[in-house]
């Protein structure tokens, strides 16, 4: 065990992945000598050479297109998109190519080796273009997996699993926690399962569901609620696609209530899919409507960032509205 922050855990996972499989290649803007603007790829070029860790020209569609080809060829690309806000030029190479490569070729070719790492989320005074949480766009793409860790331990185990998973994975890193989240992380190689949620704490009155940086907010809200005598069951979804319907519905059957929270705008956010599915599966168990506490239906503002965010107070209010329904 060693104390690591989230960035160090990611860096550590990348080193292990590159040591363990010499087909692993890290690419992206500024990831080479410099080690990335957040330093997640520090020392990789120095340790593994320029051929296996390199700066690309400044073109996200090129990065993912190139990585798709590299993956189809049999290498294991780990591509960095500098901010999730800048992933959209690569959207076609993700939706139409990476995700459909295997299906369209009947399994003859695939981009399963591809992993895309990208920092997402707000709370860093980043405004419109350094704060977005675009997971819902990718959750509507059959063929993709989408994974979000909440702390260093998860980050390492889920990233290693993502790199080795036989499907293209979008790995979204909560950048607000890069340095803020510190924890004990095993130094050896380990994986955490994709597609499995984690129940952080059991409760009986309401299930709270979120992922990534939002988990800390949920924890705060749950504490406020517990002071009001409300017992919350806290679930970290961890994988957005495919998501762990069993853990969530088991919990809702037990508690009778569900609140989902994410930073992304409410309309068309991933909470809608969860709510739609759970109201269907747990209809007779629901004691109040499934509640969504999410970002507003606006671009991500700068000056009003605090007001935009689904903070612990808004979540707490949501919890109380749900239990008092």
């Amino acid at each position: 065990m060693a104390k690591m922050n989230l960035l160090q855990a990611i860096n550590n996972a990348l080193i292990i992945a590159m040591e363990q499989n010499n087909k692993t290649v890290v690419l992206g803007e500024d990831v080479g000598h410099f080690g990335g603007v957040f330093r997640a790829t520090s020392n990789l070029q120095q340790q593994f050479g320029k051929a296996r860790c390199f700066n690309t020209p400044l073109t996200e569609q090129g990065i993912i297109g190139f990585a798709n080809g590299l993956a189809a060829q049999g290498h294991v690309p780990v591509a960095e998109i500098q901010f999730a806000d800048y992933i959209f030029p690569a959207f076609d190479q993700i939706v139409n190519e990476a995700a459909k490569f295997r299906y369209r070729s009947g399994g003859q070719f695939d981009c399963g080796n591809l992993t895309i790492r990208t920092p997402y989320g707000g709370g860093i005074a980043g405004g419109l273009y350094h704060s977005q949480s675009p997971e819902a766009f990718f959750a509507h793409i059959p063929g993709m997996k989408v994974v979000v860790p909440r702390n260093p331990y998860q980050a390492k185990g889920l990233l290693l699993a993502s790199i080795r998973d036989a499907n293209p994975v979008l790995f979204m890193e909560p950048k607000r926690l890069y340095r803020a989240s510190v924890g004990e992380v095993p130094e050896e190689d380990y994986e955490l399962p994709l597609g499995k949620a984690e129940v952080l704490s059991e409760g009986s009155d309401i299930s709270l569901l979120a992922w990534g940086a939002q988990m800390a907010v949920m924890q705060q809200a749950a504490e406020l609620a517990s002071k009001q005598g409300v017992s919350c069951e806290l679930i970290d979804l961890r994988s957005i696609l495919p998501w762990d319907v069993t853990t969530v519905s088991d919990s809702v059957i037990k508690t009778g209530r569900l609140l989902i929270s994410h930073e992304a705008p409410l309309t068309g956010g991933f909470a809608s899919e969860i709510a739609a599915t759970i109201q269907q599966r747990c209809f007779l168990h629901l004691e109040s409507p499934i509640s969504r506490v999410c970002g507003l239906d606006t671009p991500y503002p700068l000056a009003h960032e605090k007001e935009y965010m689904p903070d612990h107070l808004k979540v707490f209010e949501g919890i109380m509205r749900s239990v008092e329904f």
């Binding site: 297109g65 190139f66 080809g69 369209r104 597609g195």
Partner: protein
Amino acid sequence: MPKNITKAVKVVHQVDIIDNGLIDIPMLQIMQADGVIHAQATIPEIDKELALKMYDTMQYTRILDERMVAAQRQGRISFYLACTGEEASVVGSVAALSDQDMIMSQYREQGALAFRGYSTEQFMNQMFSNELEPNKGRQMPIHYGAKELNFMTISSPLATQIPQASGYAYGQKLAGQQAITLCYFGEGAASEGDFHAGLNMAAVLGCPCIFLCRNNGYAISTPASEQFAGDGIASRGLGYGIRTIRVDGNDIFAVYAATQQARIIALAEQCPVLIEAMTYRLAAHSTSDDPSSYRSKDEEARWADKDPLQRFAAWLISQGWLEEQLQTKKVESIRQEVLQELKRVEKVPICKVDEIITDVYDQPPWNLQEQLAELKQHIAKYPEAYPKTSGRL
């Protein structure tokens, strides 16, 4: 000469905004339109066997095109897209490759597949989307793919294969393979952002890749004059610092010689090479298209005179390598083969419904498993509504 902060640059002192004229890339032509070799030209070393294999392949796809367009008109297949007029650009280039080289094509390059041994049966399986087709009938006709022939499954979105080819070639380099990637695309596709990304990355990262642009004058109805204003696609290669050549795409010797040379350079120097093949789409864009509303019969006739097949045939005859009588027989036998296979294969069933959820992921997750189970129950309840799959649940 890459210019940046460390490289020397020539300095001038008068404002002189460079006009388009600076770039004027010539076109390599070895064989004239009548099949006669230019006096100053050297024929690439091609023996009789290879020459005839090349010619036969061109002939084959020409007939395949003709037959399949007819089959589409009869409603037997839903869609087809012909290579007619561009056979030399495709066959001339694939013939200069090693079988280990990966081909990533756009869609009008059936000659490359045929040259590598893709059979009539395989063509038919693909076009009938049946269960014998390795792509499992998931894509429209002409989206061929054959792993064993190092021919990447075709994807409809244009130009996406270009940066992928750079990445694929980079992987070949890392793996130390003595192989390159050949990436085909049209002059229309070259307007996509992916083209820019792919070529620039290949140049900067040293990818052993040949980019072969079939500049056939049109992107569906859009003439090249509304596609770009520069000196074709070749001039862009120079901008990226990519070694570049323009060839007469209807002259199979020019295409072959350029590709052979390009492959040597790409392998030896681990770098990309761009080839622009000047050609013409003699056919409609696809069976969904009718070119008569956007181009003249006259123009088509002028290009028909430059037909790459006739040109090559003329040369082969002059060599005594081709007998016209034998040819007529051969044409007839290909036609027969195509028709027979067509008839036979159109009866092969499509995949069982279970395949609807495979290959989305390596393993179907819970949602797909549930959806398949529900679907099968539903089909069992309404078998007449799903006649192609209900018989084999």
